[in-house]
């Protein structure tokens, strides 16, 4: 993914925490905030919806 002129390896980023990513890629001149944004563009946070939680819980309950 290209972010502000830097091409990041998405597959590699997905194996790292945001803190590890920021520490590793800090030399590009991007701020921590920008690096954090770049990281989450590649590795978006997944929120569990209430509906999904219900489905999972109901399936677990039927076992």
């Amino acid at each position: 993914m290209n972010y502000n002129g830097v091409s990041f390896n998405e597959n590699w980023a997905k194996t790292k925490t945001v803190e590890e990513f920021i520490a590793h890629e800090g030399h590009h001149g991007l701020t921590d905030k920008q690096l954090k944004e770049a990281y989450y563009l590649m590795c978006p946070k997944v929120k569990k919806s209430a509906e999904a939680k219900e489905i999972v819980e109901s399936q677990l309950g039927s076992e």
């Binding site: 290209n2 002129g5 830097v6 091409s7 990041f8 390896n9 998405e10 590699w12 980023a13 590793h24 890629e25 030399h27 590009h28």
Partner: protein, 316 residues
């Protein structure tokens, strides 16, 4: 009484096809061992696409095609058929003509360094003429391909202030049958930038700060002070192709995967800045090999007519 010859049985019908093809003035040569099956050349569009794809292949690919720059002048160097006569006068042909041509092409000393690699070799050659006809031959399986020619390259000398001079590429036909019996032609309308060779661009290590390495992208030439860098034109586009880059580490020819985590183009220094995974880099020993995108991948990333050459360097 009519005269009969048993030879006449084996002769051919001789109708003249008014729309039949004939060779016109050559405008470009294409060297290389690509062969196109009937399924490909059955449509002009498919054959055109296949030819362009072969041009975009990397050096070392067995069926890569090499388009030679546009022809400026043609001289027929065909060796005439040889004749001999019996003592009582009957003259017979003892050897068929062997076609040959000397082409002056648009070139320079940089390109001659590449062209000379074809010198003295027998190379399948397709010839594109000024009527959009691509001439080659059929093999025994009716695949369309270049006919075999001996190639020689004569570099341009110094000008003398009078004549117009350029690099000469000479071709001499190996088998006379490829010019007649096996001859084949495809009519293709190439765009002006379709038949263009790739520029070899060498990646080279420049400097580093721990696992962050600076890499140049230059085409070597005769001008020792000004090697041509593709960075200003394509640096950003090349960096964007990070998914097509890879790296390895190890002694000799590196084989251990070394992850690249980011690439950027530094325009002020005209270098790629390649960051390797710091953990893998810390344990890496010996050499590092940086493998760039292939020409097709580069073309897909808007880096036209370029082949980046992989670099292996000692881990600094």
């Amino acid at each position: 009484m009519s005269q009969h010859s048993e030879c006449a049985v084996t002769s051919a019908n001789t109708a003249y096809k008014q729309c039949g093809a004939e060779r016109k003035t050559p405008v470009q040569l294409i060297f290389g061992s690509a062969s196109f099956a009937a399924g490909t050349y059955s449509t002009t569009a498919a054959l055109k696409t296949a030819i362009i794809d072969k041009i975009k292949q990397a050096i070392g690919t067995s069926d890569k095609l090499f388009p030679i720059p546009v022809i400026l002048d043609v001289k027929d160097a065909t060796v005439s058929a040889k004749k001999a006569s019996f003592g009582l006068g009957l003259e017979i042909q003892v050897q068929r003509a062997k076609q040959g041509y000397d082409f002056l092409i648009k070139s320079n000393s940089d390109l001659e360094k590449e062209l000379i690699k074809f010198d003295g070799k027998i190379i399948p050659t397709l010839i594109f003429d000024d009527h959009n006809q691509l001439w080659g031959k059929f093999d025994t399986d009716l695949n369309f391909e270049g006919a075999d020619y001996m190639v020689n390259v004569t570099p341009k000398g110094y000008d003398d202030g009078n004549g117009a001079f350029s690099t000469m590429v000479s071709i001499r036909l190996i088998d006379s049958r490829d010019f007649v019996e096996n001859a084949a032609m495809a009519k293709i309308e190439f765009a002006s930038d379709d038949l263009v060779g790739l520029l070899s661009v060498n990646l080279a290590y420049v400097s580093h700060s721990t696992n962050v390495h600076k890499i140049s992208m230059k085409a070597a030439g005769v001008d020792i002070n000004n090697p041509y860098s593709v960075g200003p034109l394509y640096g950003t586009e090349i960096a964007a192709l990070i998914a097509n880059f890879s790296a390895k580490s190890g002694a000799g020819t590196p084989t251990t995967s070394l992850a690249i985590t980011s690439i950027t183009y530094n325009s002020s220094e005209d270098v790629l800045v390649v960051t390797y995974d710091n953990t893998a880099y810390g344990t890496a020993t010996g050499n590092i090999k940086l493998i760039p995108p292939n020409p097709t991948q580069l073309d897909g990333g808007d880096v036209a007519e370029t082949e980046l050459i992989a670099v292996t360097y000692a881990k600094p």
